[in-house]
């Protein structure tokens, strides 16, 4: 028997597989297919203070081995998430979940974090710093180490739950931003968010996405994500949740060797709604094949 348990701060996960924010809704669509309680945890759709429609459609495009999205954080807003979505999720999933929050100002992050702190079934608060800061000339909070640190500190001040900063790959030096978050008190890091990308329709000669640009995800970005996790692992001591293109149990092992303690699976769920289940079921076979008795032993093993 192999041991698939991993530990994020004090939270023991049965396995490291977590559906990524924005690709799993609040679980409802998947619960008619399989029992979600096999999952290590669930990171639910990014929550903002107010309800958001997001960007205009089309907001999905395809690319070789991947996809682009410009959904733009559509969500029902903090109040509806806390009053409806989280209780519903607690009905179908009994373990602690990861609350992914977003904001366009420091105050918005703080308010979301404060509300999530009170929610019993929230185990970790995952702070998406990829959004543009409306007070900072529209530059994303995740681009400058100082801004990322500022968000980290502000959120940490209002919660006792572990705070994970979800890093954007669209930056010059992701390791520097990771270190700044660690110094500011982050309990862990999630990476990577989607990579800024674009497609043009040859028939109309115009961008496919109404927003022109969008975030790329899926199998195609795996080597980039892996490289970034590897680099960040070298510069911080806090745990990393690795993600970006993970589609198989082999990818999970590879991401953990690069330095991830747990992983998130995103776009793969959209292509195959059973992706997380199949990865979890295949994990013991892959562990045996590569002579891994406990997943905890391989974290950062490639360094």
């Amino acid at each position: 028997m192999v041991d698939t348990k991993v530990v994020l701060n004090n939270i023991v996960l049965d396995n490291p597989i977590i559906p990524a924010s924005g690709t799993f809704g609040y679980g409802a669509e998947f619960t008619e297919l399989y029992d979600l309680n096999i999952l290590g945890s669930i990171s639910f759709k990014g929550t903002t203070l107010n309800e958001r429609f997001g960007n205009k459609t089309p907001r999905i495009a395809e690319c070789e081995s991947g996809m682009l999205n410009s959904v733009g954080l559509q969500n029902p807003g903090l109040k509806a998430v806390c009053e409806h979505e989280l209780p519903n999720l607690a009905q179908i999933y009994k373990k602690p979940v990861i609350a992914n929050i977003s904001g366009f100002s420091l105050e918005e992050y703080v308010e979301c974090a404060r509300a999530m702190d009170k929610k019993e079934n929230v185990g970790i608060i995952e702070v998406n710093v990829s959004c543009p800061n409306i007070h900072g000339g529209g530059m994303s909070f995740g681009v400058l180490p100082e801004a990322a640190a500022e968000v980290t500190k502000a959120v940490k001040a209002v919660t006792t739950k572990p705070v994970y900063i979800k890093l954007s790959p669209n930056v010059k030096d992701i390791a520097a931003i990771a270190s700044a978050c660690e110094e500011a008190g982050a309990d862990g890091l999630s990476l990577i968010n989607t990579i800024l990308a674009m497609r043009i329709d040859l028939k109309t000669r115009k961008p496919i996405l109404a927003n022109k640009m969008g975030g790329m995800s899926g199998a195609a970005i795996f080597p980039i994500a892996l490289r970034m996790v590897y680099q960040v692992y070298e510069s911080v001591k806090i745990p990393i949740i690795g993600m970006g293109g993970i589609s198989s149990a082999e990818d999970v092992v590879e991401m953990m060797l690069a330095g991830a303690t747990a992983v998130q699976v995103g776009a793969a769920n959209l292509k195959n709604p059973f992706a997380c289940k199949e990865i979890i079921e295949d994990l013991p076979r892959v562990m045996e094949k590569y002579k891994i008795s406990s997943l905890c032993d391989i974290i950062g093993g490639a360094h």
């Binding site: 690709t23 089309p58 999905i60 495009a61 195959n272």
Partner: protein, 244 residues
């Protein structure tokens, strides 16, 4: 929703670029006309959504037009090949809201789902009539199948090479009284039908999809009753909620 493997029983060309594919498999998740399936194709990351055209037991019929890489790949598939489908997606048309004499209006590859709808309406005791719009005579398909249902069928061609010259809305003026409208087709056509129709009705929309089952928020539109995912809360919207 179900995910299951279907076997291709037949894949034939109907017009220059429109094909009919027949697949056998577990169709138990499909409950209404206007629902769609999402098809995985080798070498493509996203699935391709195609409406259910007909359902007989375990035999599923789809009609699709070749417009890009995915539909071109589909057109090359042969009998015996297996396909991975998500089935039972979307809300579909609610026939219980229809009056006794509905008109069903389709344009181009918006026509296929209306075939199953016509059958459902007939078995519910209603007397539908169909208006099918195409650009030109050579692009017409499914006319005989609709006629074989024993209903009145009006075909409009934009260039006048067959049937009524003009658009489906021109045919709508000629087809006599109706008390409910069902429609599927390109958005400009839907809007024209919406403006011309004198009754309540249901309209089926398209949007680019990430998942097709409600998880990614890729396909959302604004309606008078709030945000709706075309793949899950649609693709069929009621006249009263549509915002153009």
């Amino acid at each position: 929703m179900k995910k299951s493997i279907f076997t291709i029983e037949n894949n034939e060309r109907l017009t220059n670029d429109v094909y009919r594919i027949m697949l056998s498999g577990d169709t138990s998740a499909i409950s209404a006309a206007g629902q769609f399936v999402n098809i995985e194709l080798d070498g493509l990351y996203l699935r391709r959504p195609i409406s259910v055209c007909d359902l007989e037991g375990t035999m599923l019929t789809l009609i699709y037009k070749v417009v890009g890489r995915g539909t071109e790949k589909m057109s090359l598939l042969t009998k015996g090949k297996k396909l991975d489908l998500l089935t039972g997606l979307g809300n579909g048309y609610d026939t219980s809201k229809s009056g006794d004499n509905p008109v069903i209006i389709g344009g181009g590859v918006g026509v296929p789902p209306l075939y199953m709808l016509a059958k459902k309406l007939i078995s519910a005791g209603k007397k539908p009539k169909a208006i099918l719009g195409f650009n030109t005579k050579s692009e017409i398909f499914l006319e005989d199948e609709f006629s074989a249902l024993g209903i009145d069928v009006y075909v409009a061609s934009a260039d006048g090479s067959y049937g009524i010259k003009g658009y489906v809305t021109d045919a709508l003026r000629e087809c006599g009284a109706y008390d409910y409208t069902f429609s599927c087709g390109p958005e400009p056509m839907l809007k024209a039908v919406y403006n011309a129709a004198e009754t309540d009705g249901q309209y089926s929309f398209e949007e680019r999809m990430g998942c097709g089952f409600g998880a990614c928020m890729g396909c959302t539109c604004e309606t008078k009753y709030g945000f709706k995912r075309i793949c899950k809360d649609g693709p069929v919207l009621e006249r009263g909620e549509i915002i153009w």
